[in-house]
Symmetry: C2
Subunit: 334 residues, 2 copies
């Protein structure tokens, strides 16, 4: 079974694959051959994946196993599994937990070639609806403490399969990075009585330097302290702590902001690899009411090197002001 181990110095958690460990040689086998194989995420190949957990059927299609528009199932090679124990125990100075958790794949649409910028707004809404529904369902299991929804696009961003998909991982602990963000936001709130993310939006409203896309409900901007060139965040304009509190109307707006932002990035950065992650409040986190959910998009244009690993400092060759004006100027067709 997988195992969660906690670093006693930094409180960082690591999921260690003690079940099917990867030996040194396994990192050097030819992986390029993969894409020529049958795609397990394409319609008609549903039997190649674990059984479906959730799906949204194609409008007007005759009901069948392959008539889905969005499809969710457990990851075939999960980092964590719902059958494992969430019990915590010590191993000398270290902490361990069995590999309890959920790891799901969200296939974004039936077409192997269509990423979000190529989908209609209605199709993007269905992906976001599936994400929200899975969160609301997993919330019922109180052993889960945090849900991360994320996407790896392109090999440099860690994607191993081409077919457009995102992933969901539900964890039995609140990760240290999330806790750090929440504590930072709380500290700002205690000091100023204001949400730090709202402050960020308000400062940008005055400066008009970092905005990539904006409508009545969402702002996409390159944060003033961007770690990476062309890093872009999408934030709801009205304060809300949890992603899954999003209304149907909110999903409509977010679909627009997400499609616009990803289309701009795809065009300006020549379809480069990227990750996006939804940052949201832990599941039972009443005490953290100063948090403001948002999406972070990280294009992969540079390598994280020794300086970053050694210090947590980042070196960003592209000022976010320049990244923002570049992305802002890319026209988008909805």
């Amino acid at each position: 079974m997988p195992q969660l181990r906690k670093d006693p110095i930094t409180n960082r958690w690591v999921i260690v694959n003690v079940e099917k460990p990867a030996a040194a040689d396994s990192f050097f086998s030819a992986t390029a051959a993969k894409s020529s194989k049958t795609c397990p995420f394409c319609p008609g190949n549903e039997s190649m994946t674990p059984p479906e957990i959730f799906s949204i059927q194609k409008k007007g299609a005759v009901k069948s196993a392959s008539a889905w528009q969005v499809r969710v199932f457990p990851n075939k090679f999960p980092a964590l599994r719902i059958e494992e124990s969430p019990d915590k125990y010590a191993f000398g100075i270290y902490d361990k937990i069995g590999g309890f958790g959920a790891h799901e794949v969200i296939v974004e649409n039936p077409d192997h070639q269509k990423e979000i910028p190529q989908l209609s707004l209605e199709e993007v809404q269905l992906i976001l609806r599936a994400c929200r529904e899975r969160c609301l369902d997993l919330r019922k299991d109180t052993r889960f403490k945090y849900i991360l929804i994320f996407k790896n696009y392109g090999a440099a961003a860690g994607a191993s399969l081409e077919h457009p998909h995102s992933q969901l991982i539900a964890l039995p602990v609140v990760p240290s990075r999330v806790l750090g963000e929440i504590k930072g936001a709380l500290k700002h709130f205690e000091y100023t009585d204001r949400c730090v993310y709202c402050d960020m939006l308000n400062q940008e409203r005055a400066e008009q330097a970092l905005t990539v896309f904006e409508d009545a409900d969402f702002t996409a901007l390159c944060p003033f302290v961007s770690r990476f060139p062309f890093e872009t965040w999408i934030l709801p304009k009205v304060y809300e702590a949890s992603f899954d509190a999003l209304s149907d109307e909110g999903i409509k707006s977010l679909a627009r902001a997400l499609k616009a932002t990803l289309a701009k990035i795809q065009t300006a950065l020549k379809d480069c690899s990227f990750n996006w992650m939804i940052h949201t409040l832990p599941l039972h986190g009443k005490e953290f009411e100063s948090f403001h959910w948002h999406m972070e998009i990280i294009p992969h244009l540079t390598q994280v090197a020794g300086f970053e690993w050694g210090t947590g400092f980042y070196v960003n060759p592209t000022p976010p002001e320049l990244a923002a004006v570049t992305l802002r100027n890319v026209p988008v067709n909805f």
Copy 2:
């Protein structure tokens, strides 16, 4: 000038290149051509680099500008510069500092092809001596708060030049990741009255599961909570907070441990890209006496993906116990 910006949420610092900003197109130019050019780090090409700060001459060679064994000079494209101001100021909710700092290149030996595993123990000692001397010299400038020495090897680890070299960055602030480690070690110390790194070494002394190399002075091991496959740390057995407190005898031992460890990694992992970083106490950090300096070596075999960026959780496909036995079993010739 470069600019340091601080994230108000996570206290993370970013160095932003506002002087020669990289536009979107710059990331897609052909960089592979670089290696065919004249190497600015090879003997005879000293005029291609900024003026030398420090060097160790070749034993017995006739004195000349090219008769060096190790050579240190300012980075031609520095992330930070010693001429800039270290003054801090606010920009709305953000903090900024001018790009004050030092960024130096340590050319490890005259031979373009020889990395540490291919050098003699005496030659490796000279690299470490140069690192120590530069730290001791930079300590005299009290505007510096932290010094990081690190190496990027291979394109995937962020190296842009082939000739064997490492780098030094002196910073006007203590980076958040370093502070996090120090606070974690201090917390453990306050709770247990023991150094957490000594505890780590003692637990391994009992378990005998993670050791890669060991002699009277140093232990190289794959930490129990390794983030990456084959991550390896080198720790002095006797507690010492700062790297630059190392004696000449200590340098002899470290050269042996470092050469052995890098040789094992190079052989077992087919000369893959890696970073190493020296984690040491901040320069004026009397209050942090529970810290224990060490080197961290991170081979690049997997991609950091959305899950890691979103949570700070890492997924490690290779249990450190397996990595350690693999590396331990690689024979080394000194």
